[in-house]
Amino acid sequence: MVTFNRTVATVACSIAVLFAGGLQASAQVKIGSVLSVTGPASFLGDPEKRTLEMYVDAINAQGGVKGQKVQLIVYDDGGDANNARTFATRLVEEDKIVAMIGGTTTGSTLAMIPVFEDTQIPFISLAGAIQIIEPVRKWVFKTPHTDKMACEKIFADLKRRNLTTIALISGTDAFGKSMRDQCVVVAPKSGMTIAYEESYGPRDSDMTPQLTNIRNKAGVQAVVNPGFGQGPAIVTRNYRQLGISAPLYQSHGVASKQFIELAGPAADGVRLPAAALLVADKLADGDPQKTVVVNYSRTYQGKTGQAVSTFGGHAYDGLMIFVQAVQRAQSADKAKVRDEIEKTKGYVGTGGIVNISPSDHMGLDLSAFRMLEIKNGDWTLISDAKS
């Protein structure tokens, strides 16, 4: 009888230990990421992936979040929205993630939103278009600046220089098109008149016909180029080649050193709105963002050997916002974490200072963009007071 009881007790204890051990092993915070690491948006997705992996490792090295290790599961959608949707389903159903930080392009983000809204999992998107957070969806947030803000920032600078009649030359890719649409909407409110528009395909190698037409249009005081990838570099070169003297504004889609390399001397004098990350070393010492961006810059450049990219910075911000939300919520419960993400206030990130609210699931305002001008092959900050 005693032996039997002891056996039962031993077995019960072993099961309990195993169970607890199992619980211990599964007590990980699983986050998922669907990124366009290959394909047309790989320029964006690659830095995002590296950043997430780098910083998840760093967080785990310091003990994880609330004592739990973070497990990051990354899938590559190749820039295809259908694949993105499949991987989103996989992350939710198979991998059982508690949060998603990803969605490199607007198209893949929009395709994945229904999955996360249905399963009630917080989704921090890394894509630019304003439709992602307008209308506000309960479970969807985003870290990059919207293209609407980019337009507003550019227009504000133009206004300061007394340039109100502009021409647009935009790429027909998703980024260019989305930003062009926003610029058209925002122009009247900012006192701008869009006198003329041209467009080019994202793979086009020569924009001289379009720019010639712009040059010949009387009254155009400045030109804005919504686009990303190699298009803006070619536009900039063609611009100088044709000898157009009106000021040229690029978008935050070209925010990388590579643009300057490719556009060469033609890039001098070009202005664009960009996150402080790009000019980390040039920020004033008292600038609230300086510490964060310098640290991220140095870490990213050190680990990858590549110049820092604002897209990687958005991934960093997404991860940190999530981690801080978990810490405030004291748990990895999806609903609690979502609520805490929505309460993020004063988070200093690479993209700006973030204040999320129930009506604003991005949390950045115009001050998050800095106006930069390219001089002698490098970025310089234009302070808001000067023109």
Binding site: T208, P209, Q230, L242
Partner: protein, 290 residues
């Protein structure tokens, strides 16, 4: 007037690139009846290989030469390992093989190189000439001159050398050529290699203007093919004329009509040519034997 000239010169520059790609298509088509969709990847490889070799410290002219040699070798390999074994397959099967090769080469390039876009320094500097109000890049003239030189060299090769005569013989009737003792396999392989080299040269010459990345090949191949069809597939001069014409169509339609559908121009041209005059401007009509 100035804008017409600008469109004209831009069209010539772009057209010269298409002409070189079309020449590559034509050479392979004449030698083996294969439409080689991987032609665009040869252009990409020329540019990307040069960039990456230069990045490792190789001086630029040597990097360019090496890139051409490597690409020619890849062309040879394509023939030896993909086209020759499928000898006797239907034209459709052969097209799919070359499409497969193109996708494969693009996949490899993605891994070996990287996914960003790159440039090369222009040979004579980046300052454009101003001619009657239009701006022409020196590199544009280099591309046009390069195309002219290659056409000339090819013409001389075909006209004056035994190898060239062998190519013509194979193009006329493969079986007869073999019967007179021409090693068709070797010669066709050589044509693939030459075609790849032409593509690589085109890539190197044009990268200073158009930039390069691992996926520039697809669209270039399609446009080059449109140019070859327009000029008459099978005719070298037709390829050049087709390329220049296509470049003009694109530029003028973007300038005068609308730039939104600039890319569609090449495909509309393909369809129009195929429906209206399949043999193109200079090509010979095809007679189907029963």
């Amino acid at each position: 007037m100035a804008e017409f000239l600008q469109f004209f010169f831009s069209g010539l520059t772009v057209g010269a690139v298409y002409a070189l790609v079309a020449l590559g298509f034509t050479l392979i088509y004449n030698a083996s009846d294969v439409i080689n969709f991987a032609q665009g990847e040869f252009v990409m490889l020329g540019g990307m290989a040069t960039v990456f070799l230069a990045l490792t410290g190789v001086p630029l002219p040597l990097a360019a030469l090496l890139a051409i040699v490597i690409t020619a070798a890849i062309g040879l390999a394509l023939h030896r390992f993909a086209i020759e074994p499928a000898h006797g397959a239907s034209p459709v099967a052969l097209i799919m093989i070359t499409i497969g090769a193109s996708v494969f080469l693009r996949g490899v390039a993605q891994i070996i190189f990287d996914k960003r876009f790159h440039s090369l320094p222009p040979i004579f500097g980046g300052e454009p000439f101003r001619l009657w109000g239009a701006a022409i890049l020196p590199q544009g003239l280099v591309v046009m001159a390069g195309a002219a030189v290659i056409v000339l060299l090819l013409w001389q090769f075909v006209d004056r050398t035994m190898l060239g005569k062998a190519v013509i013989a194979i193009a006329a009737n493969r079986l007869a050529a073999r019967l007179v003792g021409i090693d068709t396999r070797r010669i066709v392989g050589l044509c693939f290699a030459i075609s790849a080299a032409i593509g690589a040269v085109a890539g190197i010459l044009v990268t200073p203007i158009t930039l390069t990345s691992y996926d520039v090949g697809t669209l270039l191949a399609l446009k080059g093919f449109a140019a070859a069809m327009l000029g008459g597939i099978g005719s070298g001069l037709g390829a050049v004329i087709g390329g220049l014409l296509l470049g003009m169509f694109e530029t003028f339609s973007a300038g005068y009509i609308s730039s939104k559908y600039k890319d569609a121009v090449a495909f509309l041209v393909i369809l129009a040519v195929l429906f209206a005059m399949p043999q193109g401007v200079l090509g010979r009509g095809k007679i189907e034997r029963v």
